[in-house]
Symmetry: D2
Subunit: 224 residues, 4 copies
């Protein structure tokens, strides 16, 4: 099951996706056992570790441009005895070059290149693939939503989640806020092939003109 406790991960000073957010992100990602998952802006690798357990016969490609992060991802993969994480020390989308295919993309950090990352991810993703974006800025959220709104082959849902943990202080429980995150989940669909149907009047049909054989997307003269 998903939802490893935060304190079980090695963290250093790298920001970590918190347990509750990891749970929601992974549940929305609907990772299958043989999936190829990319974790872009992997940070501590906490999401990568949990994703790698779900994609037990697949792979998680953990991409981060920060050297300290790469170190800590390595340590966490070892700590949890995960052997199906491939760590890519690179910026995104550049680092995606070495990812053969993508079934699920988890996008955390995007270094100001979310549109380019989404384009690259999309190129390696077949219908049925899923993208889950965790946004901590309003601009990234809207950039992601804009990209998705233009794409007829993606459908998405999105929500903002705010977690307020109750910190036990003697007889009291103090409310302590975590920073809210917006989670956008998109699924790629097969676009229906639009078949052009030409209706003609009986009069025309009665004339025995040899009609052009027409396929979707072709021009009348048969070229594309």
């Amino acid at each position: 099951m998903i939802g490893i406790e935060d304190e079980k991960f090695i963290r250093g000073k790298v920001p970590m996706t918190k347990q509750e957010i990891r749970i929601l992100t992974l549940a929305k990602a609907k990772i299958n056992e043989t999936d190829f998952v990319v974790d872009i802006g992997a940070g501590t690798g906490s999401l990568s570790v949990e994703a790698a357990r779900l994609a037990a016969r697949g792979y998680v490609f953990a991409i981060d441009r920060d050297e300290t992060a790469v170190d800590i991802i390595t340590q966490n993969a070892e700590k949890f005895s995960i052997d199906n994480i491939i760590i890519i020390h690179s910026e995104a989308p550049a680092g995606l070059i070495s990812v053969p295919r993508i079934d699920v993309a988890l996008i955390g950090g995007s270094g100001g290149k979310l549109t380019e990352i989404l384009n690259s991810v999309d190129n390696k993703m077949k219908p049925g693939g899923r993208i889950v974006i965790n946004c901590i800025t309003m601009q990234n959220l809207v950039t992601g939503l804009d990209w998705l709104k233009k794409r007829e082959d993606y459908r998405y849902d999105a929500f903002q989640v705010q977690i307020n943990r109750l910190q036990q202080v003697g007889d009291y429980d103090m409310v302590k806020a975590l920073n809210p995150i917006a989670i956008v989940t998109a699924k790629k669909f097969q676009l229906k092939k639009v078949t052009t149907v030409i209706s003609m009047s009986d009069a025309i049909l009665k004339e025995t003109i040899p009609l052009p054989v027409k396929k979707s997307g072709e021009k009348a003269d048969g070229t594309k």
Copy 2:
């Protein structure tokens, strides 16, 4: 107007009620120009300073048991040239002894004695008075609600407020949560005097029994 910027207050290491919460607290308190206001658990005195401006011909009694807080309240009162704040270095409700009457009570810190504080405040408050409690623990919130539910002469409304500030980082705005606060606002009402009416059958009335001594709300002849 209410809503002084946070950075204009001297703070030290004393926790401060944030601008947005101050605005809501003061607006709900509906402080009049001649009101006597108590600010219990005054902290930096940020609420006291703003309350003192509203109660320009009244007084604010700022109570805090912490010496550092008392120092900082003093400094803030001076900084904002407020001369109608009376600082009481004491625990609550003990410190309320030297408050002659209360029109508005702002309750922040309660040191585990919210019920006692509410009892003491109530003793010095006439109908029309208002209490605004800011709660950072679930237990204090429920303690306050319980006290109010038992009192027929108080009506309250309550809400939890969560402020997520957008922090400007170059082209981006990152969402940063403040801890949520529950704000309970109560108003004291004049309980209607319940008039006892004794109905008697005509038969009894016709016997010339000496009629019972009349109570408030009855006409001289016993009818209404």
Copy 3:
């Protein structure tokens, strides 16, 4: 995996735990394949259905006092071809009588009897068991926290979760709030048996004094 879409459940007019809350509740519950799960105040049975998939070789006892709810749980169990849900049409804790043992308790509705429910659940729960309470009122939250604070054999964490869904309206995404829920997760532990060990010098041991029979908490002389 957890997280069935809301619209796949039959709902009627019964309130339903929303997808995001179900995900968090189930992840925190850490349900094992052979677990006996009770879902108290099961409502539409959405949690029961998802729990029953996780406890594939165990059982889910779905308890609800409302007849309409019982109907809808039945329909949802059928719709998702679940055969390990046992529906108990009863109040809680009364309905718990027919539950042989509890590994995981999911407590939604409690009909004002949360303390009694927790006592009953605890009676049927061994160390290692987990309780997840979803609270929509402040009072139930504090009642649950109070019960847990008194129990040395339970440890808990708690958080409030607020989900704001983005509703797609043309080029825009409007923020629509779901009501916040507090989720309290508790785990039962084996209290360590305190065994008193008395060390004596060899010299004493060699004397064949008949040693007092000692119980934990007693002083050497047998008094407490």
Copy 4:
């Protein structure tokens, strides 16, 4: 003071800015007694009414394109005996034509034309003016932030506010969420005129070269 209770306004089916949001919006707007305020997308006029009380010797121009809204604003202005609201039945920014100057702009509904509205508002606003935008969509929020980020003569702060009201149900208080709002507050500043000062050594000054008359922004040779 600000913060009229919601139920005191006539509402019909027009969406209304809730009390807590009105309080925060008005406090951030820092309306002065003689200000000219525009309320764009005025809805029920609840903000206009409260703004008109603050700008007691100024005016509030309440703009709404919806006829029902115009009716209800009229009714609310009458109910609260406000005589300094001028209602403009028009779209924005078109309706701004008849507004002579703007000290404070409150922007609620923007009908997809936030950028144009901000440009128009800015044209009628002097340094010292304030704009408060209430956003219910992510796109409008980012559009507003983008406009402000490009303007050196504006400084802004922004926050998202979530109000969860406690609804009294017998012994319980149920948490009911209002939809969250992002509030962006911007203030217009006087851009400092950069005055070029050329320092010359005494030696040079003693030579009686006729110095060029220099204006801000000109190069030494008098070109721009």
